[in-house]
Symmetry: C2
Subunit: 271 residues, 2 copies
């Protein structure tokens, strides 16, 4: 599987799409069967007004998802990507899972960050899990992933791969520490014994910089690839492809040593 | 506040108590108002039989807690320590909070690890929060801390400091990574905006070695002291005192930037 960390540019959708396409092709060339792209890959992130977000939004049967489905059919891969979704009068911060030219599911971000409530209607549904050729996939988006319940619900539904398109704004943190977003991904992957694949973004956009912390974490909580932010060059790169060769079904095994079990050791009678 | 990482020895309770006492005095000498000691500090961890655990267990009004309360009165500090508790015919893996010669609360470990169910009756109660001179304290024990719900419940009850006596057995993990137990402490402290103080142990006991990962984490998820396992000497040390100078009330602030809030951003209607 691959996480493609790509520079998005809200003022250059055409160049953005070219970078996304190149990154997907590179990932597949290196063997990826499932490729995760960033949040709001169709539009960029830094909207100034709700009208701008609404104008950038596209229906599921619109151009961007059409391009993704075509790419998935051509390359024979599963793609998970964020996109700015139009539905009726609303815009949603959504993620789509496509495979072999078909849309498998669309997920709408539930936990909105920062100014997003000005631009987007929050999702109202719990995580969904879809079967793909690369494993059982639950898409969620950026800040969603910071709520352990969201990972747990997906894991309980049988998800093996939590796929997370993200746009992580750069916030202050100790320079000798990984960003807390990465630490949470490690902790929650380990707590619920799932793979978590996070495709963050890079590329300064309207003055905003980003963590660039894409990471693929195994069910033991340790990175299999990345975090990209551990490297020094990532801030300069326009795209970066992280790859990990995994057996998704390992995430079905919740056993912790001879006596313990990640699911059965919970005490839902007390929570 | 301080976390005292001390070598326990199930076959030398007298030497163990001397090391605990020295570590507490050293912590207080350096200014600690609250000191956390390891899990099962009264007995050591590696029981061979239930009978051995039962024989080592002491009531709350027994010698070990009596010694702790005396020490808290003499030194004018709050102490949180694990101990092997006898109650009726049962043994519990418990933690006591003492201040100024008084027992404030006893907590019984709910989430048992490894062979512990052979030796201990699991606790049945949710976390408790007690007011101390050093802040609002919720004690929990070792594996309890790996369940995010446990931290959340305590935080929702107003806990500022999650105090965690621990005995973390050494398990295989990548040598360039922090142990997952530490990563979870960071993630959960950051997710619920509380301080987490973990007093792990050191000292090989009946062939078992330990992580020695004591750590004091702030509400931003980053270590204020430790993890002790980041150092190379800890495996050899018989005791190590971690100190952090904090304002516990900062944990009451759940605000995340201008738009977000660690508690209000949750979606309990969906969990």
């Amino acid at each position: 599987m691959a996480a493609c960390q790509v520079a998005l540019d809200i003022d250059d959708p055409r160049g953005t799409q070219q970078r996304l396409g190149r990154a997907v092709r590179e990932a597949v060339r290196q063997g990826a069967e499932l490729v995760v792209l960033p949040e709001l890959a169709s539009s960029g992130y830094c909207f100034r007004t709700a009208a701008e977000a609404r104008a950038a939004a596209q229906p599921v049967d619109g151009r961007f998802v059409g391009w993704l489905t075509g790419l998935s059919a051509e390359l024979g891969c599963v793609l998970v990507s964020g996109f700015c979704e139009a539905s009726g009068d609303n815009a949603f911060n959504s993620a789509v899972v496509v495979q072999a030219g078909e849309v498998l599911t669309v997920y709408r971000k539930v936990h909105l960050w920062g100014s997003e409530p000005q631009f987007f209607t929050p999702g109202t549904k719990r995580p969904v899990v879809v079967d793909t050729v690369a494993g059982r996939v639950a898409p969620m988006i950026c800040y969603d992933q910071e709520f352990p319940e969201w990972i747990r619900i997906a894991a309980d539904l049988g998800a093996e791969l939590i796929t997370v398109p993200a746009n992580w704004p750069q916030l202050a943190h100790p320079s000798n520490e990984r960003p807390l977003e990465v630490i949470k991904a490690q902790a929650f992957a380990g707590a619920y014994r799932v793979f978590i694949v996070i495709a963050d973004r890079c590329g300064t956009e309207r003055g905003q910089s980003w963590i660039g912390g894409s990471v693929i974490v195994g069910p033991d909580g340790y990175p299999l690839a990345g975090p990209a932010s551990d490297g020094v060059e990532q801030a300069e790169a326009q795209a970066q492809v992280l790859l990990a060769d995994i057996d998704a079904h390992l995430a079905q095994d919740k056993v912790l040593g001879p006596h313990n079990h990640a699911r059965r050791d919970r005490r839902p009678d007390l929570y």
